[in-house]
Symmetry: D4
Subunit: 253 residues, 8 copies
Amino acid sequence: MSPDDLTALLTRVQAGQLTVAEAASQLNSTGIAELPFATVDLDRSRRCGFPEVVFGEGKTPEWAEGVVRKLAAAGQDAFVTRVNDAQAAHLGSAFPTAVQDRLARTFLLHSAAERVTPVGDVLVVTAGTGDLPVAQEAVVTARVMGANADLIADVGVAGIHRILRHRNRLNAADVVIVVAGMDGALPSVVGGLVDCPVLACPTSIGYGASFGGVAALLTMLNSCSAGVAVVNIDAGFKAGYVAARIARRVHKV
Amino acid sequence: MSPDDLTALLTRVQAGQLTVAEAASQLNSTGIAELPFATVDLDRSRRCGFPEVVFGEGKTPEWAEGVVRKLAAAGQDAFVTRVNDAQAAHLGSAFPTAVQDRLARTFLLHSAAERVTPVGDVLVVTAGTGDLPVAQEAVVTARVMGANADLIADVGVAGIHRILRHRNRLNAADVVIVVAGMDGALPSVVGGLVDCPVLACPTSIGYGASFGGVAALLTMLNSCSAGVAVVNIDAGFKAGYVAARIARRVHKV
Amino acid sequence: MSPDDLTALLTRVQAGQLTVAEAASQLNSTGIAELPFATVDLDRSRRCGFPEVVFGEGKTPEWAEGVVRKLAAAGQDAFVTRVNDAQAAHLGSAFPTAVQDRLARTFLLHSAAERVTPVGDVLVVTAGTGDLPVAQEAVVTARVMGANADLIADVGVAGIHRILRHRNRLNAADVVIVVAGMDGALPSVVGGLVDCPVLACPTSIGYGASFGGVAALLTMLNSCSAGVAVVNIDAGFKAGYVAARIARRVHKV
Amino acid sequence: MSPDDLTALLTRVQAGQLTVAEAASQLNSTGIAELPFATVDLDRSRRCGFPEVVFGEGKTPEWAEGVVRKLAAAGQDAFVTRVNDAQAAHLGSAFPTAVQDRLARTFLLHSAAERVTPVGDVLVVTAGTGDLPVAQEAVVTARVMGANADLIADVGVAGIHRILRHRNRLNAADVVIVVAGMDGALPSVVGGLVDCPVLACPTSIGYGASFGGVAALLTMLNSCSAGVAVVNIDAGFKAGYVAARIARRVHKV
Amino acid sequence: MSPDDLTALLTRVQAGQLTVAEAASQLNSTGIAELPFATVDLDRSRRCGFPEVVFGEGKTPEWAEGVVRKLAAAGQDAFVTRVNDAQAAHLGSAFPTAVQDRLARTFLLHSAAERVTPVGDVLVVTAGTGDLPVAQEAVVTARVMGANADLIADVGVAGIHRILRHRNRLNAADVVIVVAGMDGALPSVVGGLVDCPVLACPTSIGYGASFGGVAALLTMLNSCSAGVAVVNIDAGFKAGYVAARIARRVHKV
Amino acid sequence: MSPDDLTALLTRVQAGQLTVAEAASQLNSTGIAELPFATVDLDRSRRCGFPEVVFGEGKTPEWAEGVVRKLAAAGQDAFVTRVNDAQAAHLGSAFPTAVQDRLARTFLLHSAAERVTPVGDVLVVTAGTGDLPVAQEAVVTARVMGANADLIADVGVAGIHRILRHRNRLNAADVVIVVAGMDGALPSVVGGLVDCPVLACPTSIGYGASFGGVAALLTMLNSCSAGVAVVNIDAGFKAGYVAARIARRVHKV
Amino acid sequence: MSPDDLTALLTRVQAGQLTVAEAASQLNSTGIAELPFATVDLDRSRRCGFPEVVFGEGKTPEWAEGVVRKLAAAGQDAFVTRVNDAQAAHLGSAFPTAVQDRLARTFLLHSAAERVTPVGDVLVVTAGTGDLPVAQEAVVTARVMGANADLIADVGVAGIHRILRHRNRLNAADVVIVVAGMDGALPSVVGGLVDCPVLACPTSIGYGASFGGVAALLTMLNSCSAGVAVVNIDAGFKAGYVAARIARRVHKV
Amino acid sequence: MSPDDLTALLTRVQAGQLTVAEAASQLNSTGIAELPFATVDLDRSRRCGFPEVVFGEGKTPEWAEGVVRKLAAAGQDAFVTRVNDAQAAHLGSAFPTAVQDRLARTFLLHSAAERVTPVGDVLVVTAGTGDLPVAQEAVVTARVMGANADLIADVGVAGIHRILRHRNRLNAADVVIVVAGMDGALPSVVGGLVDCPVLACPTSIGYGASFGGVAALLTMLNSCSAGVAVVNIDAGFKAGYVAARIARRVHKV
């Protein structure tokens, strides 16, 4: 509760417009929806600018459905990531109007609220073709969060001219997401070409000593280009989410 | 070279205003200063908005001095990080007007150019007192890069009220840097309180199974708060640099 | 054998009430049931307060059945954890009166002995919904061991108000178990809110650099809250077991 | 703030006994002492039963002194761990009445408050002689926290009779701390001998593939004895702290 | 673009034989084929001596087909590695004249261009029988790249006479590839027998603490024989590719 | 070739009883059987006391059959470990008289040679029931190699009396193999009870931070009992093989 | 206590030749010497054939002296390993007749008992010169334990003929210890040349990815030669100790 | 011994020109110089084209001197790497005519033999200035081995134009060594620009999650450029050695 809200509330208590019990209740609880298996954070949107996003892994289809219903009932967008096939089928039946992207493995049930015009430009770049599912998760997420997002695929450093010819597009973006597996070298090159923030997202593409993306992750954390921050392996969602926060902040001022 | 610059150059060749040799030279070389031990990137500032920053580790004091001289000769700011005692003494003698911060272990030799007015607000938060050197490196870096930067120290999650009372300051920032060692849990809490991007910087503070910051690094990469991106262990410089890119981008629009 | 028991036994030898052979046998053997594939510790209950618990993994259904029969024959509770589907079916047929919990993957065959009244309060808290199977294993175990156990689900730190509103319940418990995957940050927050011991149980929920729960494990070992001890990844059983030892000790005095 | 306190405060606002500004201030702030380098949690004692403990590592002697002064000024015990030689000398001069234990590397400045009578029995056991500094830190901590603590040294499993002869003492304790490096096997044996909770604390004693205590840590996390919880490597402080929480809880009922 | 080519191009601009737009286009683009999911590097052959090789993992059969078509359309050899069963079937139908090796898991569609005569001698040696699939990938790759390649199987160091009797063949090769799992000791022995470069390729054959080839990888990186360089685990392709570069270089002079 | 054999051979050359070509052939070749996929070491038995053992993993059933045939043709025992179901079925059909143990996953085709009387006593002890497959592989291997081998199951340290009651059997053995997963603590206890060599074999039984047997492996390498040597994770074969070497050596003198 | 001893004792109780108190005392205690910092196992020699060996690391010189005095007072050999310079000087003054080996870093104070004639042959082989301190620790230990021990230095596999010319000496040994850093490949070669047990001891010699001996350790655990068991990194003591157990067992029969 | 040599030797035995004893001696021994602490491989030069190189680490100055003397006495070059200050001073006094490079930490004592004319071109490239010591070790080694070697410093990918302007020099080399710490990304870029083999050498330059060069090592092993092989961390010697083997082989044909 913001200081202003707090003062307002206390003033109403003082003025007798609000009972002590009601005030205590408001101070103790903010928007939460409780289920036997979940405590849905209905206040997330107010604090962070977007409703709680549902992480699909480890949930039964029924649990996923339950959380989506609570969000929808609260008039909020319900966005689910890492949706497996069983969940996709179940949620598709339960919410026929929802939009699913099977490459990105995402599910979106829009609230009835009018959609905001997207602001800011997120550019997603991949080193290889195999990085596309993760990149697509980033694109979908950034768009759902209210940013524009575009994709350039398969421009890894083994053919350095492939990325160099996109310098203008890179420089036009508010934030660049670079998705790469194997050696994870692309973000270092991109970071040295632009003056906007670069988000590096390692993928588990590769074999042997890539250790499921650890090699690319370490490369990115140790990038010799100073303008590069990193998210978890295969975490296209997180890259898109942070990028959208940046893009929206840029166009908020 | 931008497409427009390229067209202009070629037009001048076509018009006979530029010889083929001169044009080839310009296309082949951009601002580089060569030393036996370094190839200084004098074009970095044009591409990335700030000159090449010198990483002090692994350099003799003489090598560090040499690179600083090349940057200064090109009229650019010379900023050195991870300055050890021997380098600090040597550089202090060589460049008496430079500014050094021994807590942050930084060295700055300003160019004669007029300083730009700082834009954007970077807020640096630490979980503990031992995280201060890294946090200070972030603060100094963000300021050198042209952003405003402020610091809140020692508000780790073991006393959760310490961070909660700063909600307003957190919400006012364009980007929040959270510096934490040990369990590295603070960024997850901060990420759930704000709608701006959060940069998490792990430190090597801790003992036993903190493994020199690895524990905090992993915590941050796995943050349950989606708005958190991560930089390398003890990389206050990188956190400050990325934050300044974001802050400047915000106020560029 | 306790000193008192030993003295009693020797006194009986001295008095000729016990032959040397019998005394040697008693000193050499304590309650053990031998099978070709197992040496069941029938003395565990006397020493540790609860019979040996059967770890289901790596056992054929027949081996599991064999050990359960030996425990039952000795009049002891037979509790099996990590029961897979094949074992569940086999044991269900063999012991129709047993109780199985498929979320917790546990099997319990009560002895004929009267059940003790549960003592002490164990509160199990999870950071996310996906942590529920592990949490449920902790709840079931604590109850089987003779403690009261309750569960609060999905109150991770990204929405910090979710856990803060349960302060009273947290403070009323004798011991709190916090089950969390991903960043594993919740125990550090809980540890700073209560004065009872906190047991942190990491789960393998998460992706990429969570490394199957290692990230959460390290977070918990490095908790900035001093009152936190840790058990193995996904070891809901162990968390529940230690918690019950604490809870029973509390109410034994 | 507890619900009762909150209701009381709001009632006073309603009754006009407290201004809105004062109430807002109280709701926003709890006991904190601010320094440029630290935010001392003066409320820790109320919540957790003992004041904030100062972690010495990474602090200048002056920073350590500053925090101790704030705690003392608030009438609270000031306990510092991991005190290095320079800090010990500095703090010794600054606070001549404080008690330091150089084997445990601890510093304690008692508040003027009357000392509470210690309750509960913590027994600390070490596998080897080299584990003594860590064990001593546990002993000192448990005592400072208000529990009785005793020590048995060097009873590792290579001579199993050494621990077996202490069965009675083990069974009399409310909680046993087992400190061990190298193979870290002792907690598994102790865990099978007692019915109270066992806290295992790995040490960095050993060589080669002990990896600074990682081997012992993993042994303890994987203990075949179910009643064993684990703390960080060399974290004698944490073991003593958790043990004291258990011991005090036992005698609180 | 080489300096000579650049001068030639600029001279043509100067002479009015090339428009500014055409020159800019040529300077900005080199041979690339764009697909929605790939940016095929058609210039790779000119720079590196062989067309871009397609890494099968992480690609749908349709994506693999698409890239093969682009390479074929450009008159280049299309070589795919790590071809799984579904891709093999799909590509086999799409390109009936292509050659597939299911042990090596490779696919090759030759361009219409006349084949070059192979040069140089690559000798591939395996420590065990289980290393054969990786070794075969190396053999096929080296041949496709234009070198002669031969194979000696199962001559690991446990029977040291098995490799010693091949000294003459080893000494006759231009480069030796040693493929080994488990202890990965064979390259160290071979490296001490020959004066040509040795490429060591670890495999994931082994169990327990071989960690999927990490043990063999480390052995090879630490080889006491100085003439040994290393490629990734199971990376028969890369070993064959580097070997062919060496072999061709040898016979180019 | 031994010095005596060498002198004898050269003397025959000198005497004209052996041609130079024949002598060169004998000096260059020792018993090897070559297949396209294997180089069978038929000399292993002479050097090491037992024929080459076939490691089943990574071999097609046909490859396994081929090697067995070569060994049989040379009149040697053919022993295969890590036999999977497909190999077991194939080899069973091909060699109906062979003996297979599906718990140990071994295959043995005895040569026509008379069997030697087993010598020496190997005692295999397991900490848990789930360690049995590995222990059985050790038992079978030791017997095949010519030693007596016996098994005690499930006597882990959580019930320390289980192993203590077998002191006499432990002391009677020439070598003790201790097979344990989870904490791997049993070898340290056994090592302190006996004066014969102890071989510790970690297993992958356990969960979470056992990391597939790494925890037990490290425990054993760091055993506080000096008389303990270690073999690879799940390497029952290797434990049995080394034990048999010791047992046979003991009874050779 | 052996069964026979136990029967004898109980018979004496029965016969009234031993009081109950005395019998209880004997059953409860075996040879232990207690110090404030150590519990010396004076029964180790009876059980394991050699007195408890003192591990120097982590002990103050005074602690080391105290334990040595207790062993000496009991008429037992006092052997200390990993003796640092300060301990060496202190112990040298305290026990002028003791023998110290500064390359092996060992200290030995012989008891007055007559020395036994050494039995069995231990051969220690090193891959490089830098492995000598560890090898010397193995040699000294084996001799102290009562075996003959000899050393061959610097015969690593990069010059394979260096080890092959020692075949006769290798075959004459009862047990071979192979000490190697870097790639750790030598034990695999030796294991394939002999029929006695081979003990592999990795050293921390090497750089970069040798990771302080981990590379060599893994090589040895994964040895393709079946007759190889492994001890901890740099654990020359343990290698010598296990070897002496084997050698003595061989000549005991 | 080669087959031809063997036939010649046996023919001389047959002809009575060589005694059996002399022949046996020649077959059993090849050029070895024995010291108490080393077995110098004087045959290395014949087999591998260059004498045994001495690894300085872990050797006393006297041991290093001893080996150098043996090589010199045999008329061979004595090359020592990783020479520390104490060794450098000692060897400098002992061999005043030797050449030492303190940046590369190498020592070279030339034999009296005429020097061969260097052949082949090795180009060493570094990503940063801090990589220079390792790069210099590679340069010195390659030259000592008989190749030409040249160096380009500090052309990392953060300023990609720095390496692109050296394309001609890169393409002119027979082999390129790329030395890089931090992200280790440069080899991937270079590998895509040339058609000769590329040797990547990671350095320990970097901080935090570079883990002493592990990050760069993994990047290089996972290089998306197929023409890249890798050597150990900081192993400039090995990179130079393998490069020289390639360069000499190229110009041998």
